[in-house]
Subunit: 179 residues, 4 copies
DNA sequence: GATGAATGAGAGTTCATTCAT
DNA sequence: GATGAATGAACTCTCATTCAT
């Protein structure tokens, strides 16, 4: 791919995230193009469809999160690692507001359930359970469900850091091995 | 208001809920009108705007849920009452799928945070805390945040009853007074 | 159908014929709407698709021509009747220029082959053959082929009346019973 | 012109004919470029405009047909020569379907009237009339009109060989010296 | 000279909203 | 009061054409 094409692709993705965050699902391709400073045709060269653009955003973001998960899985306190990742991903959702629902409504699993992320998260969960930090009867489905729920609510209602901490504290307590 | 106008209002609200549930945000006024068996003009006579129609649905639904909360607050096990109401509202979200995001994306607070519901929920929470069934350091903000989160995720991802139970079990454990 | 809707439908059809004649296949719905003095939405209310509009024009025109054919079939010189109708239809194509190709390219049979017209034309042909005015070995397929050909060329190249007469004279001589 | 440029020009013309035949008027430059195995820019270097490309195709084809006409004019039965050429050109139109209308709709005279072909055809006509095979009162305008008509209809409606023969038989009979 | 990425006007179509019937 | 025909802005997407690489 040519250098300019690559640069434009990046600009489009960035702009699309921002516009999606502002306008939600109703975001128009024209708005994305204007923010990116390119013509609409340029977007369509890279992403044949509006939905394809959305999916590309998800994929991009998922990849970055998966990397962070892998890092966390390699060292330190297993329980802490899982909770840290959980909190991090929710914080992410808050920052890049509105984007989760846009995507999931577009038929894309919200990031947590996205295939690439399942593996890394499962690793974190299993490690935490082996270390006795998390109840052994908690499975991936409910963990992902809770994660998605927190992401959705955080971004849609704009959880501030304090609220996020308090809400997640409840969830983490529920996940912890009960004495 | 004339009798037929009142009947029409009810039919429109009912149809709007169903169409919203089916088509999500993209629901068109025409579709609502057709299902209700009225002309689009008739809708506009009652609801000046699409958004006004949505808000009316929320209000309608909120009112009914508030009634249920009040009933629950009057008798029985206080802890059980809170959790029952919590679960009930999430189940509701699953059934009337897609409608939460449609509304919240339209600028309407998801039902849980809606003013009319705050009071009844607070009553349930305070009672449960007084009875020692729920941790005293849990406040309304995080309770509502968790409730919204569960509703959003449940309806957007179609939580089945089993998943709902397991996910809520974690949250409820986190809310319960820790030994 | 309401009176105003009917009036608009007629205006749209008329405008569409004219625009099609001017711009050919590339005619835009917006151009039709502007000439008709209505909004584009008004067109779409009556004709769900650009192609549907085109087909409606064909149907309209076919119906009118079929009526003329029926009239001709009822009296007078059978040979003359066939040739008169043939010439009339070609003249028609010249006047309402470009519309034939627009339609046929849109997948619609050029008027001559259009189902409603087959019957009336066959009647004229058979009568002319029985009267000995037209060669008995000429069949409908080639008659329609020649008719279509003349229509297409007449409208696409704007045959003037003199040219039309001379070209059709050749065809008619070829159709006539050879001595 | 460099050798590779010349080769590209040929490839583009060939591809353009094929694409035009397949997609008709809606043929896109991109499709032509892809089939030719060149970039779109390469086409634009040789043909400043889409229409220029179309005209070049016509010119190319006309030149080849003119050569055939000249060959036919040199020997054999004059009447037969005219009719043979007439039939040949119509068959051509059938094979390279859709292309005639694409061109003529683009404002290009259908091949028969194209300047380069007028001369050769006139030669054939005059020879046939001198030999007494064709009526002396038939002029070039109506001959070209009939030829165009047959070409247009043949390609637009996909005349099969049998239909072509029967339709042309009528025209040829009309052209022949009447006893 | 060749390439194909970028452009942006313009295409068909939809839909919230208005208003004559 | 009810109706649904009319409106036209806005949408997604295409494609002839230009120009940096």
């Amino acid at each position: 791919m040519r250098a300019d094409a690559q640069r434009n692709r990046a600009r489009v993705l960035e702009a699309a995230e921002e516009v999606l965050a502002r306008d939600g699902l109703a975001a128009s391709m024209r708005a994305v193009a204007e923010l990116a400073g390119v013509g609409v045709g340029t977007i369509y060269r890279q992403f044949p469809t509006k939905e394809a653009l959305y999916q590309a955003i998800v994929a991009d973001r998922t990849r970055r999160l998966a990397e962070r998960a892998a890092e966390l899985a390699e060292g330190g306190d297993p329980g802490r690692a899982l909770f840290t990742f959980f909190a991090m991903i929710v914080e992410h959702a808050t920052t890049k507001k509105v984007f989760v629902d846009a995507l999931s409504a577009a038929g894309v699993d919200p990031k947590a359930g996205s295939p690439d992320l399942r593996g890394p998260i499962e690793t974190l969960l299993v490690r935490a359970q082996r270390a006795g930090a998390v109840r052994p009867d908690v499975g991936m489905p409910e963990l992902l469900a809770l994660l998605s729920a927190a992401c959705l609510a955080a971004q849609q209602q704009g959880w501030d850091p304090g609220l996020r901490d308090r809400a997640l504290a409840v969830v983490f307590d529920g996940l912890r091995t009960q004495p």
